[in-house]
């Protein structure tokens, strides 16, 4: 059976089972631990306790202490031992408890994991998936809210993947674990439990009310490097990923704007074909991310769209981002690129 056919069969067999993103990630890990004896899961608090966000709950009990275990509080060590495990032939899935904590592991990621295949001319590879919750909107202050994805997209040899729904999280994570290159898998923690409209003062809508929470029980994959068209439209193209997909969607719904929204899902390798096709169709492009603005991934997207679609553009490419400040605790909603900032950018881009 082909991959697509098996996916389709799995979808049909499990109609209407609704789970949140945490459960979807847990299922992906469980499935891969079951399918592949070389997969191991490790990180701070991921073992007996099951992770501070519960993504690894029950996995140690089911798969044993040598497959799912706690680690010392050392991101350098976690990534470093994962490189060695990959060289042995394992397929480690380390968790970094918050993306903000990943910096002590950067040398092992940038100079080691990302370069091993190249520098050893394929003698050694680092097939690891580094999972980490990222993004703000949970009153996490400056050390539990950051979106450092552009640090990793700048590194040759790393893939960067960011899901925005339970369905995507499961299928993308399985693809990442099976991938033979090191992958940074950033989980938007604001939407672990439900999609986010951008209005922090409104009640959280649970995933169960969203169709993307219908997740097949079994194994399926979503290929890396393929964007998802969230909605088709003619007025402008919005490029987003993670939490901001939902915020952008809710703003368009509210304003009645016929936007085409692309959820990029994979930043490297990027689905440039989907981006080009959409922008050439609409002639207008808005890029939305939560990360700080300067040298953010939006700068790369803006440059690519300008280089490739310039003669189709009817207005300058716009970026809506977080501000170039640390993520402030009490003022996080002033930092967050919410409906007002996005709405203003849409108005500007449609007026031009």
């Amino acid at each position: 059976m082909s991959a697509e056919a098996s996916t389709q069969a799995a979808v049909e067999a499990t109609a209407e089972r609704r789970i949140n993103m945490i459960e979807a990630i847990n299922e992906a890990l469980d499935i891969m631990l079951t399918r592949d004896p070389d997969v191991i899961v490790m990180g701070e608090d991921v073992g007996y306790f099951g992770g501070v966000f519960r993504c690894t709950a029950g996995l140690q009990e089911k798969h044993g202490k040598t497959r799912v275990f706690d680690t010392p509080i050392s991101e350098c060590g976690i990534i470093g031992v994962a490189v060695g495990m990959g060289a042995y032939g394992l397929r480690p899935v380390p968790e970094i408890q918050f993306a903000d904590y990943i910096y002590p592991g950067l040398d092992q990621l940038i100079s080691e994991a990302a370069r091993l295949r190249y520098r050893s001319a394929t003698e050694y590879i680092a097939p690891m998936t580094v999972r980490s919750p990222f993004g703000g909107g949970i009153f996490g202050g400056q050390t539990h809210s950051q979106s450092p994805e552009s640090i990793f997209t700048h590194v040759s040899g790393l893939k960067t993947v960011i899901p925005s729904t339970p369905y995507d999280a499961k299928g993308l994570l399985i693809s990442c674990i099976e991938d033979n290159d090191p992958v940074i898998f950033f989980e938007p923690k604001r939407i672990y439990n439900g999609p986010f409209s951008g209005y922090y003062d409104k009640p959280v809508e649970p995933w169960k009310k969203h169709d993307a929470s219908i997740v097949p029980e079994g194994y399926y994959k979503i290929p890396l490097g393929k964007a998802r068209t969230v909605r088709e439209g003619e007025a402008l193209t919005i490029l987003a990923y993670g939490t901001m997909v939902h915020v952008a969607e809710s703003v368009c719904r509210e304003k009645g704007v016929d936007a085409e929204i692309l959820d990029l899902r994979t930043l490297v390798p990027l689905d440039i074909e989907a981006i080009e096709a959409s922008v050439k169709k609409t002639g207008r492009c808005l890029i939305v991310h939560e990360a700080t603005r300067t040298s953010g991934f939006g700068a790369e997207l803006s440059a690519l769209v300008t280089e490739r679609c310039f003669y189709h553009l009817e207005a300058p490419v716009e970026r809506v981002t977080g501000f170039d400040t640390p993520y402030p605790h009490s003022l996080e909603w002033a930092y967050f690129p919410g409906p007002v900032r996005i709405g203003e950018a849409i108005d500007k881009i449609l007026k031009d």
């Binding site: 994962a82 490189v83 060695g84 060289a87 190249y118 050694y124 040759s156 033979n180």
Partner: protein
């Protein structure tokens, strides 16, 4: 600068002024050299505990110096590995070949055949003898001065030279700085060039081997200067937490480029003593004594193989030459150090031992040296047929874009086409415009 003790502190109060200590080595260029404060102890004096000993039961071994070869060139004490003469001659032969290889490659760099080289003169025992105590499929994660491991494991010299020349025969496709070898076939991990990163990787490999119930162990080598890196601390922590079957070898050659070992903490304690704080077994070994190097590594390997725990071994040695071809040590240390250094030369010491036990002589030694030199020379000529650095016989340009990822993504395909176009513009006769370049 004013004496801090006699000045009023900026705080304005009457508490004593603080003073910063900046370490200073024993001698600078032109200074007389005195190693009399270095206590090398007696060969054979150190006890050899059971391989299952608890670290705190053997802590004196982290402060003393395990030595086997005495002033009389005989082997002494419980650490004598009692190797047969044939093995000792093999060990000597590997060390002599390493030195001959280093001499030739260093000259090759000076002749412009490559960009860079690093000798391990005086430190041959720490890689050759130590790795001979491991099984050939035990995984090693070396730093950049362990060419002795490759030679001891029988890695072809021509592969080493091809790599050093970055030529078309280089298995690493000319991507790595010279001497940053890799050989999976010889259980030799890809050398990074970033310091101490290999140490947690070795621990991870050992953890993986233990997870799988395998019997192979891992060993890593790191310079004493690089133990200051956080990676080394992570390695020690993970090693002890998971009781990983790993050996952490610290080569204390006393110099990290121009910074002496005091900048890694050597003024206060030994590097082996770091083991004790982690609950690792710690051994401090005469790194110029090939028998002691072998014995310590064998002890640690037995310990790891029996699930008794990891070991940190400090090899006390001396970097007899510059850090690399890019370094001139006469600018920062006394040339006398090499002469006065009390632990001698590892090759001479093993040679004298073999002669002392009637298993070697000067004639055979001279013949061996000549044979090593001839072999390296002949292999160098052979390797030069594949090209030398900067003379065109490198891997094809498109290989630059391969292996960044398992598959070539669109952006690298585009950049590869650009690189092809650039060559066609620069050398239109040699690179006719093909489809890829248009």
């Amino acid at each position: 600068m004013a004496d801090p003790a006699s000045t009023t502190p900026p705080s304005g109060d009457n508490r004593p002024a603080l003073a910063l200590h900046v370490p200073e080595p024993r001698s600078r260029p032109g200074d007389p050299v005195d190693f009399s404060d270095v206590d090398i102890g007696e060969a054979g004096a150190q006890p050899r505990p059971d391989e299952g000993a608890k670290p705190d039961e053997m802590k004196d071994l982290a402060y003393g110096l395990i030595r086997v070869l005495g002033e009389d060139d005989k082997a002494h004490g419980p650490w004598d590995p009692k190797l047969d003469p044939e093995t000792l001659r093999t060990m000597l032969g590997h060390m002599a070949l390493v030195r001959a290889f280093d001499e030739r490659m260093f000259r090759g760099q000076r002749q412009g055949k490559t960009s860079f080289y690093m000798k391990c003169t005086g430190e041959e025992a720490t890689s050759v003898a130590a790795s001979m105590a491991l099984a050939s499929d035990d995984m090693v994660f070396p730093s950049y001065r362990q060419q002795g491991i490759l030679i001891a494991r029988g890695y072809p010299l021509i592969e080493m030279i091809n790599q050093i020349y970055s030529n078309k025969g280089d298995k690493l496709k000319g991507r790595q700085l010279p001497i940053m070898y890799s050989s999976r076939e010889h259980s030799f991990f890809s050398i990074s060039g970033n310091l101490a990163t290999q140490t947690p990787q070795a621990v991870g490999w050992a953890m993986a081997s233990a997870i799988k119930g395998d019997s192979r162990i891992a060993a890593t080598w790191v310079g004493e200067g690089s133990t200051a890196e956080g990676d080394f601390h992570s390695a020690c922590t993970f090693a002890t937490v998971y009781n990983a079957p790993v050996i952490l070898n610290v080569i204390n050659n006393q110099w990290a480029i121009s910074s002496f070992s005091g900048f890694a903490g050597a003024e206060r304690t030994t590097f082996a003593a770091r083991a004790l704080g982690y609950g690792l077994a710690g051994l401090r070994v005469d790194g110029n004594d090939a028998l002691a190097c072998y014995a310590a590594q064998a002890w640690a390997a037995n310990r790891a193989r029996a699930n008794k725990g990891p070991t940190l071994i400090e090899y006390f040695t001396y970097r007899a030459e510059g850090h690399s071809t890019s370094d001139d040590p006469s600018g920062y240390r006394s040339a006398q150090e090499r002469e006065e250094w009390p632990l001698g030369d590892p090759i001479m010491r093993l040679k004298k031992h073999l002669i002392a036990i009637g298993e070697w002589d000067e004639e055979r030694h001279a013949a061996m040296d000549l044979e090593c030199a001839e072999r390296v020379k002949a292999t160098t000529k052979e390797a030069e047929k594949n090209g030398i650095l900067g003379h065109g016989l490198h891997h094809p340009f498109h290989t630059m874009f391969e292996d960044v990822f398992e598959e070539l993504p669109w952006h690298l395909k585009e950049q590869a086409q650009q690189a092809t176009r650039e060559r066609q513009i620069k050398w239109p006769d040699h690179h006719p415009m093909d489809e890829a370049g248009k």
